[in-house]
Symmetry: C2
Subunit: 189 residues, 2 copies
Amino acid sequence: MVPKLWNETIEEHRKAVREAVMDATAALVAHHGLAAVTMSRIAEDTGIGRATLYKYFPDVQAIVLAWHERQILSHLGYLAEVRDRTGAGARLAAVLEAYALILHEHEGTVDTATLHRGEHVGRAQHQLANFVTDLIAEGAHAGEVRDDIAADELARYCLHALTAATGFPTREAVHRLVQVTLDGVRPTR
Amino acid sequence: MVPKLWNETIEEHRKAVREAVMDATAALVAHHGLAAVTMSRIAEDTGIGRATLYKYFPDVQAIVLAWHERQILSHLGYLAEVRDRTGAGARLAAVLEAYALILHEHEGTVDTATLHRGEHVGRAQHQLANFVTDLIAEGAHAGEVRDDIAADELARYCLHALTAATGFPTREAVHRLVQVTLDGVRPTR
């Protein structure tokens, strides 16, 4: 086995530290909510010294945002799977339903609305918007989605409308929300 | 002039203090953003002692939530005016457009998404949801809105979809968002 280069080892170590911090954050949020995430608690739960932790993340918000980015990327991977296993005509519906169910099931743990605060919209959130924009453009091209309004505007509409799923009581209610949202993007009469 | 009862005077004083705190909060948020709101800063700007301030509000979040409640109530008053001056058939559209424009214009100052965090949904937010639910029920009764889905679910869908207005670049884009949102609640073909 060829020994790893020093830089590579350092890079792997850094990545492992970041992952450990994210994992601790995820566990804290799941068990105690977002407010429980503090620098001291993360340091304690990971066994990383506070001084070291501050070298990786300047504050709690940076940790929560990084964790949130990781989450969206993981959701995006799943949504891409849903897209790829669904026939062209039903893709948008399948992906929106899958996304709405993610929001619904993460209720109380991932408060995405809280995290998309202020000016910050992460790279992952942009990727999600682009992902849905592409699906909508594809649908418009096939005549299944309205083409009188730009695909990126329709994508924003869909993603915001579906955030209502967080407060809905049942999966059936979420399903109805997805249908109503889709009715908004159908070709106009 | 009949002198005021002592209790009444106290109550008025308390109200005046609360209003002064809200006003200072509004000014701080408008000029420096939500993050600038701190107990010390509010005490300084209002001339209310810190000890007294803490008797009124346990922490910054309590102040921001109270201020947010006052804001939604003021928006609600305006939306009720819009409703009352609009003919029955065009009411829902007029109110949703007015609400979307409020969200659009307050961009950066009122981050409503941030404020509707966690479990807290204020009384004012419920009133807003009820207000829109009533309009939708009225529309469904008149055959202008779909009746296959409960009015309160449709109201939630509308309010969430319109939060996209915060990130839209122009009033025209906001107008298109309102049209798409309305298309979602039209009677199904």
